[in-house]
């Protein structure tokens, strides 16, 4: 049996002062929690309200849905990369699997699209479970292995000999369930859900464990954290989000080829958006996806080669020099301004 005695039995040198400080710190903690609750509430509500109202002011719904899908993908990358440090270059694999699983659930089982999208998310998580051994790898080995896994999934799904199941390279058509309004609503739900998931992970014991693992896996295990299990949870959650995003894409576009949902640039975009906005933060991926995908849609479609160069440079610069992204930079600037103001008042 382990000792149940308290180390508090050792006399504290400043016991009386600690009692007073405890009351003050509890009040401080209360107001901090209120501020945090409000911040997190706004992080979900503001984007959801903006995107819910956006079609009344801007008619290009496909672009709006694409941005929401990329927000979700960037938040998914955020969970696996931002919290554990594992960069998933093959993240698109889960997106493609989600798109196909959703489509096949509609075509083969006549499930409603909303339910089929959930099936897509679940199947992607299942594939992530099969690919769990990849988590034994680290750094660039992991990044490249996920890329190889995504290519393997693409090769399987696009294989002509599987035509009777996946329709192979000839594309899939779920035009019979097309619903512009329906897919838009589900995209808004996906947007809110992905942000909410990041908040939930950040505020949970899982989030604390993942941050510890990212810092130092050895110290984390000596704090009682089961490194393999906690990392796997992040991997599965991240894969499920990509699967749901793929399902929303499938319902929106209704006719697509495997090359459209297993395109490596989808991974690159999601990673760049997350890095640019700030990994490990809630709003970073939202800001990254909205700003960069918006910019890309206006300028990049006509001259995509420049954007490939710019996005490549963003990955290098942000990974090396701005690991907390734009949100991190803003936070640092605000803190510095705050302490400068305090010093001037003092």
């Amino acid at each position: 049996m382990r000792s149940e005695e308290k180390l508090g039995d050792i006399p504290a040198k400043s016991g009386d002062r600690q009692m007073t400080d405890k009351g003050q710190s509890l009040r401080g903690l209360g107001s901090l929690l209120k501020r945090r609750n409000l911040k997190d509430l706004l992080a979900v509500v503001v984007p959801v309200v903006i995107f819910s109202l956006a079609p009344h002011f801007y008619s290009n719904e496909i672009l709006l849905i694409s941005i929401m899908i990329y927000v979700a993908l960037a938040e998914g990358v955020n969970i696996i990369y931002g919290f554990t440090g594992y960069l998933p270059f093959g993240y698109v694999g889960f997106y493609g699997v989600g798109a196909y699983a959703t489509s096949l659930a509609i075509l083969d089982f006549n499930l409603p699209p909303e339910v089929s999208i959930i099936v897509g998310g679940a199947i992607s998580a299942l594939v992530a479970l099969v690919l769990m051994p990849l988590l034994r790898l680290k750094g660039s080995y992991f990044a490249i292995a996920t890329l190889a896994a995504a290519e393997a999934l693409y090769a399987i799904i696009g294989n002509p000999s599987l035509k009777s199941i996946t329709q192979g390279p000839y594309g899939i058509n779920i035009g019979s369930v097309y619903s512009s309004g329906g897919s838009y609503v589900v995209a808004v739900v996906l947007l809110g859900l992905s942000i909410l998931t990041v908040i939930a992970v950040k505020r949970s014991k899982l989030g604390l464990a993942l941050r510890a693992i990212k810092n130092d896996p050895v110290s984390a295990s000596l704090s009682g954290v089961n490194v393999v299990v906690e990392r796997t949870k992040a991997w599965l959650i991240s894969a499920a989000i990509a699967g749901l995003a793929g399902g929303v894409f499938a319902w929106t576009i209704t006719i697509f080829y495997p090359s459209a949902v297993f395109d490596i640039s989808i991974s690159v975009f999601a990673i760049v958006f997350a890095l640019f906005g700030g990994v490990g933060t809630t709003m970073g991926p939202v800001i990254g996806a909205v700003v960069l995908y918006g910019l890309y849609s206006y300028v990049g479609v006509t001259q995509p080669q420049y954007f490939q160069l710019i996005f490549g440079a963003i990955i290098v610069v942000f990974v090396l020099f701005v690991p907390k992204g734009i949100v991190g930079l803003l936070g640092t600037a605000i803190n510095r301004l705050g302490s400068l103001g305090q010093r001037q008042r003092g």
Binding site: S3, K6, I10, L208, S219, S221, L222, S223, N226
Partner: protein, 235 residues
């Protein structure tokens, strides 16, 4: 009074390629005892700590904690059986606050204890609890390692060179803190090069050389032992 052995290491062997870092080391430690673990650099002290805490698996022998064989358990499970350690080079979670570091250990490794609110006071980190740990100096980071280990409510605690770089007054405070911890029935195995510090603190020392135990007993006897003198002074 019969004291229970909370840690029993029996004939542990650990090799790295052709090099035997531990060659049949055995060690027994009782509840609340303070034992010194000494030896020249490379003698296997830290390897032994790594093997007992589960960072390394051993190639032979066994490790028992509170009578339970934990030889094949991973580190996070051994923590739940009551073993923990600090590091020679401290390993705090650098982007977390001091409080979060301890909170994590309490949440995951200290379910059976109720130490969360007291370890920061005990280790003198109460005033620094909201500081991000990357801003702490090395001595403070070492104390944080200790606080985090204590938050898991250990029965056996390895303290790896916590006294390095401290002045005599700080060493005396550290010894007082460690004595206080041992009074709570936590067995301490203190890895240290500072013989004066160990003499003031420990009841016995174990001396390792080239992965083998060459002496076990009172530190005053150790200083007179021919083999120990040879190892430390080169014959």
């Amino acid at each position: 009074m019969t004291l229970t052995n909370v840690l029993e290491v029996d004939g542990v062997v650990k090799s790295f390629g052709g090099f035997k870092a531990l060659n049949g080391v055995s060690l027994k430690v009782s509840q609340g005892e303070i034992v010194g673990l000494v030896g020249p650099n490379g003698c296997g002290k830290t390897t032994l700590v790594n093997v007992v805490s589960g960072i390394y698996s051993c190639d032979g022998g066994s490790v028992r904690l509170g009578g339970k064989d934990v030889t094949h358990l991973p580190a996070h499970k051994r923590v739940l059986f009551g073993v923990n350690r600090t590091f020679q080079v401290p390993k705090p979670f650098k982007d977390m606050t001091v409080q979060e570091n301890v909170e994590l250990a309490w949440n995951f490794g200290g379910r059976h204890g109720s130490l969360r609110d007291s370890v920061l006071g005990t280790t003198g980190l109460e005033d620094l609890k909201d500081r991000v740990t990357s801003t702490l100096n090395t001595a403070q980071q070492k104390r944080l390692d200790l606080a985090r280990a204590l938050a898991t409510n250990p029965q056996v605690l390895f303290v790896d060179e916590l006294g390095a770089g401290l002045n005599p007054s700080e060493l005396s405070d550290l010894a007082e803190m460690l004595r206080g911890i041992s009074k709570l029935n936590v067995a301490l195995i203190v890895v240290e090069h500072l013989m004066g510090f160990l003499e003031a603190l420990t009841t016995r020392v174990v001396v390792l050389e080239a992965g083998k135990e060459i002496f076990e007993g009172n530190i005053k006897d150790a200083i007179r032992d021919k083999k120990v003198v040879e190892v430390f002074l080169g014959g």
